[in-house]
């Protein structure tokens, strides 16, 4: 059951088109989407709003080496300028598509940045409070942390052929154990170390049922999520709720400023004034990106996920590789779970991960099963999460529910329009039997 895989429909259509023309038909989808979005925002943010209002962005946080003065721009003209850039991107995309030239990922990135900037210019227009850009970005990175760990966990498992829907459960279990251990030892770092253990325990159940008993991996994942919600909520209701001081008041991970680097304006507060979990995230993403595509370990893992029979033929132990990767994935997701309790400085609560594991899954697919891509997709989700919070404080013309649904709608657009048919590891979800 290759449910997560899109059917290779292109393969069926290709031979006939190849016969008539040596070139594949041009896909106009991306330029059309760019064009429509740019036009819509040009009208909505630029043309329609009344003029004469100003938008202020602030960049400094007080700890910087030198202060960047707040930027105050006339809202209407700034929005028009930004959306015109977006229109230019759409035109550029049209031209390059016509010339069959491929452009790197900077084009959609540029498009996203100017569109978001236009949205912000419009949303904060005429407000007395300035928009703290640095705070917005730092918060986004922080909120993206569990999504990054979650999607890396899914990636580790799926690249070796095991579908891990249980990310949600692993995050929740990690959050739970981190809170309990952190409270018992009164040390957030011990809690942080305990979190991966919980993730591994969930992963072991996933391994038991999907590798040993060959139960459909998606079924096991979904059910394990329910199981973890049940067990943690039950223990929360019976044990933790009434004795919060003993069981559920974890200390918070301290924010560690990296000397010198933390003082760089904008970048410093965003990247280098975070807690140890965020720094771990940098390391894990970088290491995995290199190891996955440049090491023997990564090659073996990918071969097991793509063609286990071939891997077995050259002497790679398929199921052993899968078991190790799934356990590692569980540990990574469990570590991400620590975000919700010890890193965010919150007590454990029922179902406190709130579907973030599924969002992480979407981030993994959106990032096309690569650590780099997963990081980018997770940052996108984290940004929209935090944007909603920040704009909620400043006050916006948009209803909060509409703001909250935007990231999900954007994901659908991205999956349907820009990403299109993604290709999952060929053998994921299929148990390997010698």
């Amino acid at each position: 059951m290759s449910i997560v895989t899109a059917p290779p429909q292109g393969a069926a259509a290709d031979p006939s088109t190849l016969r008539t023309s040596p070139l594949a038909p041009i896909s106009w989808r991306a330029p059309i989407i760019y064009g429509v979005l740019a036009l819509l925002t040009f009208v909505a943010f630029g043309v329609l709003p009344a003029g004469g209002r100003f938008t202020t962005f602030t960049f400094s946080t007080g700890t910087d080496l030198f202060a960047i003065a707040p930027v105050r721009v006339p809202s209407k003209s700034a929005a028009i300028a930004l959306t015109l850039i977006a229109l230019a991107v759409a035109v550029l995309s049209f031209v390059t598509t016509r010339l069959r030239r491929r452009i790197g990922p900077w084009l959609p990135a540029l498009f996203g940045v100017v569109e978001v900037a236009a949205l912000l210019t419009w949303a904060v227009a005429g407000k007395s409070n300035p928009l703290p850009v640095t705070g917005l970005l730092a918060g986004s990175l922080f909120l993206a942390t569990p999504l990054v760990f979650g999607s890396l966990s899914g990636l580790l498992c799926e690249r070796s052929g095991i579908i891990n829907i249980a990310i949600e459960g692993q995050l929740l279990a990690g959050a739970f154990l981190a809170a309990v251990v952190g409270t018992l030892t009164q040390n957030a770092y011990v809690g942080l170390i305990a979190a991966p253990i919980a993730g591994v325990l969930v992963a072991l159940l996933l391994i038991l049922f999907s590798i040993r008993y060959r139960v459909d991996q998606i079924i096991v994942g979904v059910v394990l999520n329910v199981l973890v919600v049940g067990v943690t909520s039950y223990l929360f209701s019976t044990v933790m709720k009434d004795n919060a001081a003993t069981w559920n008041s974890p200390p918070r991970l301290a924010t560690l400023s990296i000397p010198i680097l933390a003082k760089i304006p904008i970048l410093g507060p965003v990247l280098f004034q975070q807690n140890v979990l965020v720094y771990l995230m940098y390391v894990v993403v970088a290491v995995l990106q290199i190891m996955l595509f440049r090491s023997r370990w990564g090659l073996r893992m990918r071969s097991v996920g793509e063609h286990p029979l071939a891997a077995d033929t050259v002497g790679i132990k398929v199921n052993r590789t899968r078991i190790r990767n799934t356990m590692l994935g569980g540990a990574v997701a469990g570590l991400g779970g620590a975000f919700f309790t010890v890193a965010a400085g919150l007590a454990f609560g029922k179902e406190m991960t709130g579907g973030k594991g599924y969002i992480a899954l979407a981030a993994m697919i959106l990032g096309r099963w690569s650590p780099k891509g997963a990081l980018a997709a997770a940052l996108l989700f984290g940004f929209s999460d935090n944007l909603q919070v920040v704009l909620g404080i400043i006050g916006t013309p948009i209803p909060s529910q509409i703001m909250l649904m935007t990231p999900y709608a954007v994901t659908i657009f991205a999956v349907a329009g820009l990403v299109g048919r993604v290709r999952a590891p060929a053998s994921e979800g299929i148990p390997y039997v010698k």
Partner: protein
Amino acid sequence: MSDNAPAPAAAPVPAVPPSAEPPEPSRGETLLREMLSSSWVVTTLAIVLALVISGVLIAAADSTVQSTATYLFARPSDFFSAAWHAVTSAYVALFQGSILDTGAPTFVRAIKPLTETMTVSVPIILAGLGLGIGFRAGMFNIGAQGQIILGAVFGGYIGFAFDLPVGLHVLLAAIGAAIGGGLWAGIAGFLKARTGANEVIVTIMLNNIAVYLIGYLLTTSAFQRPGSNNPISPPIKATALYPHLLGSQFRLHAGFLVAIAATVFVWWLMDRSTIGFRFRAVGANSKAARTAGISVNTNYIWVMVIAGALAGLAGSAQVLGTEKVLSIDVAASFGFDAITVALLGRSKPLGTFLAGLLFGALRAGGFAMQARTGTPIDIVLVVQSLIVLFIAAPPLVRSVFRLSSGSSRRSTRSVKEAAA
């Protein structure tokens, strides 16, 4: 699937639905074999095992058990009697809250729990049937939650905003709910067919969007109850309500009949109609289905629309029957329960119906258990998930209960077949 009929022709093809196999024995014979075959034993034992493990959790969290455990070796009988008492009282309350309240003074009060179970199970069954169609057609639809919400929004709006005659009103509201759910799910089907967008992601995203959408709608003047600051709609008009089946002292409403009718319809659709054959063919092997001339993309859309319409009907059961008003948590967690129910029922209509009743009983009884013995209803989630896990892994259950390998011969063979 341990209950595969032995059919040599289908041996090398993994995951073929058993009903697709050519040499079909007569229906009575099949039913008899299924009744006697090990899968029913395994199902029962899986439920027992799940209850035992959850019992350990119940005992472990009980304060009396904890205090007696401190002098376990001095007087073990205290510990064991406390544990026994904690577990049995919780399960007795679960039974009394879901099937028959044996301690109730009147007959009506005694059977009320059973009708509650039936009421609660209606949305779970309806949504589960829809998801089951998707699973058999090879689409993993996680979006029942959003489809229930949209069904409730459409059905609820027709229910409170229009004045229509009795009979016609409820019919139109229910159809509207089905259309709402069908359209919402159809988005995912359409995007998969047109662009290849992964339906797992799209349905998850649509779930989230639906939650915020209903939250937004209930702040608008069209949906919010006049004079109320809470996100709640005006009450549904009496003409649009599903009629009570057993009088007004029970909540059981005609939605249960809809669930039964839907079960029969899904059975007919999947096992007797050409459309259902196409669905199953695409689910078994989409490439082979395409070669055979089936339009796979059209199938994706119709599978989702029908599944969504059933989930929309689940929403109508909530808004027109049980809750009688549109609120933010009108869908509770039925959309997610339905996934487990469809998996437990092995995506078959009858199995889903029975699994839905079981989950309805656990949910209805769980509230009674929480009220009477203080055992949190969360334990029900543990029981549910363990049941599905154990049923999915018959060899595990057999090894726990040391069943003879003779009864497991068929299932191990089918595992090997599936792996081949």
